[in-house]
C-alpha cells in the first residue's frame, strides 16, 4: 500500500520544490507523526503497569480496547487461520491462509499494473529544477544581520552564515521537532513522579532528584550537542576552503561557532533545570545550585562539541550529522560523560552536608566549609578546563590539516 502511495505521490504532490526537499518534507511528516506517537504513548502513563494499585483499572482499560476484528482485514484472516489450525479445523485454516495469500498476490498484480502506468510519469515529474525559492529574502536577511551588527566583519560573516544555513537545512527541522517532543516528555515525567509513595521523606527525595537532575539535564544537553554542535565544523563540507582562504584566524572561526550554539543551549538547559525544579518544589539552595552548576557546565559541553568536532572533522561526508558516530563523536560522548560525572561527584558530598545542616537547622563546621570550598573550586576549574582545552586542541588539529 505504501509503495502504491509513493508511486502515485508525484502525480498529485505539488512539484514546486526539487525532489530533495520533497524527500525531506516527507521525512519531516514521518518524524512529526513519530513525535505524536511518542507523546500519545507517554500520556498513556505506561508506568502505571508497575503499580499494583492501578492493575484493576489498567486491565479494565485493556479490556475496553478489545474490539472484534473486521472480516475484511488480512490480520483477521491470519488470526482466524492460526486459531483454526490450533483447534484442528484445517478447512477454516486453509480458507484464511488462501484469503491472505491471494490478497497478497492480487496486491502484487495491482502494484505492477500501477507501476507500469505511473512510474515513468512520476519519475519524470520528480526531476524538477529548483525554482525561485526565496522571493524577497534579501529584505528579511538585512534585518536579521542587523541584530549582529555589533560583531566585527568576519565574525558577523560567519555568524550570519551559520544561522542562515542551519535554519534553511531541512534535515535539521525534524531533529528539532523530535528533540522538543523528548524535552516535553522529560518535563512531563518529572510532573508525574510518585514521590509521595516513596518510603523516604518527600523533601529529601525531591532535593535528591533535583541534584541528580543536574546530571540528567547535562546528558540531555550532551545529546543535543552531539547532534548539533559536534558536526558544526564538519558541516562546512567541501566549502571549508572559504574559511582557509579567508583572512581570519581559525580561532575566531571556532569561537563564532561556539557562541552560536552556546547561547541557545544555555537557555534551553536553564529552562529545563528551572522547570523541573519548580515541578519538584525544591529548596531555594537547590534551585540556586542547579542553575549555577548548569551555567558553568554548558560552556564546557559546547566547547567540547566544537573543539572535538574541529579535531576530528569529516568534510567529505554527505550527511555531516553522522560525524557523531565517528571516533571523534564517541570520544566527545565519553569525555562529556566523564566531565558531568566528575562535577556531580565533586558537588555531591558538600551539597549533602549543606542540605542536612539546613534540615537540622545547624551551621557548617570549619572542616565542612573547607571541603565545600575545595570541591566547588575543583568543579569550577574542571568547567574552565573543559572550555579551554578542547577549543585549543580543535584549533591546533584544524591548523595542522593545512
Amino acid at each position: 500500500m505504501q509503495a502504491v502511495i509513493t508511486l502515485l505521490k508525484p502525480r498529485f504532490w505539488s512539484h514546486k520544490n526539487g525532489d530533495l526537499s520533497r524527500d525531506s518534507e516527507s521525512r519531516t511528516v514521518r518524524l512529526i507523526l513519530f513525535g505524536i506517537l511518542l507523546f500519545a504513548f507517554r500520556l498513556m502513563r505506561p508506568e502505571q503497569l508497575t503499580n499494583p494499585d492501578a492493575f484493576s483499572s489498567v486491565l479494565q482499560y485493556f479490556r475496553s480496547l478489545e474490539t472484534g476484528g473486521s472480516p475484511w482485514l488480512p490480520t483477521t484472516w491470519i488470526f482466524d487461520s492460526i486459531r483454526a489450525a490450533l483447534s484442528g479445523s484445517y478447512r477454516t485454516a486453509l480458507l484464511g491462509l488462501a484469503l491472505a495469500w491471494s490478497f497478497a498476490a492480487t496486491l502484487v498484480f495491482v502494484m505492477t499494473w500501477i507501476a507500469g502506468a505511473a512510474y515513468f510519469t512520476g519519475f519524470s515529474k520528480a526531476q524538477t529544477t529548483s525554482e525561485r525559492l526565496l522571493p524577497g529574502r534579501s529584505e528579511r536577511s538585512k534585518s536579521a544581520a542587523w541584530l549582529l551588527h555589533f560583531l566585527s566583519g568576519p565574525a558577523r560573516a560567519f555568524a550570519v552564515k551559520e544561522i542562515k544555513v542551519f535554519f534553511r537545512d531541512q534535515t535539521q527541522w525534524p531533529q528539532i521537532f523530535l528533540i522538543l517532543a523528548l524535552i516535553v516528555i522529560y518535563l512531563y515525567n518529572f510532573s508525574v513522579l510518585p514521590l509521595e509513595k516513596s518510603p523516604m521523606k518527600t523533601v529529601y527525595l525531591q532535593n535528591l532528584m533535583a541534584f541528580l537532575n543536574m546530571g540528567l539535564a547535562s546528558f540531555v544537553l550532551t545529546a543535543l550537542a552531539a547532534r548539533f554542535v559536534f558536526p558544526a565544523v564538519s558541516t562546512e563540507g567541501p566549502a571549508f576552503w572559504i574559511v582557509r582562504a579567508a583572512p581570519v584566524q581559525m580561532r575566531a572561526f571556532l569561537w563564532v561557532k561556539y557562541f552560536i550554539y552556546y547561547i541557545p543551549l544555555l537557555l534551553l538547559s536553564e529552562i529545563l533545570i528551572v522547570a523541573t525544579n519548580i515541578l519538584l518544589q525544591v529548596t531555594d539552595f537547590m534551585m540556586a545550585l542547579s542553575v549555577a552548576t548548569i551555567f558553568c557546565m554548558v560552556p564546557g559541553i559546547v566547547a567540547m562539541g566544537v573543539g572535538l568536532g574541529a579535531a576530528y572533522p569529516d568534510f567529505q561526508s554527505e550527511n555531516p550529522a553522522q560525524a557523531v558516530t565517528s571516533f571523534g563523536g564517541l570520544l566527545f560522548m565519553i569525555l562529556c560523560t566523564v566531565f558531568i560525572g566528575l562535577v556531580i561527584v565533586l558537588e555531591a558530598g558538600p551539597v549533602y552536608q549543606v542540605f542536612m545542616a539546613g534540615v537540622h537547622g545547624r551551621g557548617l563546621s570549619v572542616g565542612q566549609w573547607a571541603w565545600l570550598s575545595v570541591s566547588f573550586s575543583l568543579a569550577l576549574l574542571l568547567c574552565v578546563l573543559a572550555v579551554i582545552l578542547p577549543m585549543r586542541i580543535g584549533e591546533r588539529r584544524l591548523e595542522s590539516r593545512l
Binding site: S141, G153, K161, D169, A239, W241, I242, A245
Partner: protein
C-alpha cells in the same frame, strides 16, 4: 608582488612541489600550465594560504604568508578549480558574506556587488539559493566574490572550467582589465589557448618542478619549435 622561494610540498613519500622559485611583477598575468598531477593546484593552494608548504616561503606584496597569513590573505582573491560554496545562501548573501570577511565598506557594498553580479549575468539570480545555480554560475559567483574586495593579487585555478563561451570571453576581458589596473594574476589552466592569449609569461610545471619559464616566444625558442603553437611546445617540453 608574488614571490615564491624554494617552495616545496611533500605528501608522505610523494614530492608534489619541488623547490619552486618564482617572482611576479605588479600587473602581470602569469599562466601556470602542466600535466595532470604536476603540482599546479598544490602550488596554488600554498599561495592562497590553504595549504602550508613543507619548505620554502610565499610572499604576497612583501608580506610573508607564514608569518602574517591574515594580512597576506587580505590582498588575495582566491578562485579554486571546483566551485564549492554554501549552497543554502543566496548569491547576494554569499557576496555579503565575502564582503564582511574582507572588510569591504558597507556603504559601497550593495552598489559594487550589484555591478559585479550584473557583469556576470547573475544579478537576476542573486536572491536565489546557490544550490539552484549551475556549475558555471557557481564559478562566476566565486569570481564575483573574489573581485569584491579589489585584491592586489588574483590566484585562479582553472578559471574557465564550466563557463560558456560568452563567460569565457568576459572573464578573459576582466583579467586583462584587472592586470591593466595593476592587479597581478596567477592562473593555472589546461586551456593552452587561453594561456597563450592572456598571459605575459608562462611557467610549465612537471613532476613538481618548474621546467620552463618565459613568454610564449621564449618557450618556443626553448623547445626549438619557433612556428608551433603553445600546445606543441607544451607537449615537447613535458614528453617523457
Amino acid at each position: 608582488m608574488i614571490e615564491l622561494k624554494d617552495l616545496s610540498k611533500r605528501y608522505g613519500k610523494t614530492l608534489a612541489v619541488d623547490r619552486l622559485n618564482l617572482s611576479l611583477q605588479r600587473g602581470e598575468i602569469f599562466g601556470f600550465i602542466g600535466p595532470n598531477g604536476a603540482g599546479k593546484t598544490t602550488t596554488i593552494r600554498m599561495m592562497g594560504g590553504i595549504l602550508a608548504p613543507t619548505a620554502g616561503a610565499v610572499t604576497i606584496d612583501g608580506i610573508s604568508m607564514a608569518d602574517h597569513p591574515q594580512e597576506a590573505k587580505k590582498r588575495i582573491g582566491f578562485i579554486p578549480d571546483r566551485p564549492y560554496l554554501y549552497e543554502k545562501l543566496t548569491g547576494m548573501e554569499f557576496m555579503r558574506f565575502s564582503a564582511d570577511l574582507y572588510s569591504v565598506n558597507d556603504g559601497i557594498f550593495v552598489e559594487k556587488a550589484q555591478e559585479i553580479l550584473r557583469q556576470f549575468g547573475l544579478f537576476e539570480w542573486s536572491h536565489d539559493l546557490i544550490e539552484a545555480y549551475s556549475h558555471g554560475m557557481k564559478q562566476c559567483l566565486i569570481i564575483s566574490a573574489a573581485l569584491l574586495h579589489e585584491p592586489l593579487v588574483l590566484i585562479v585555478d582553472e578559471p574557465m572550467v564550466g563557463l560558456d563561451p560568452a563567460a569565457i570571453k568576459m572573464v578573459k576581458d576582466i583579467l586583462k582589465n584587472l592586470a591593466r589596473s595593476g592587479t597581478t594574476v596567477f592562473m593555472s589552466t589546461h586551456t593552452l589557448k587561453v594561456a597563450e592569449d592572456l598571459c605575459d609569461r608562462i611557467g610549465i610545471i612537471h613532476r613538481g618542478s618548474l621546467i620552463a619559464l618565459g613568454t610564449t616566444k621564449e618557450l618556443k625558442r626553448a623547445a626549438r619549435f619557433q612556428d608551433a603553437d603553445l600546445e606543441a611546445v607544451f607537449l615537447r617540453l613535458t614528453e617523457e
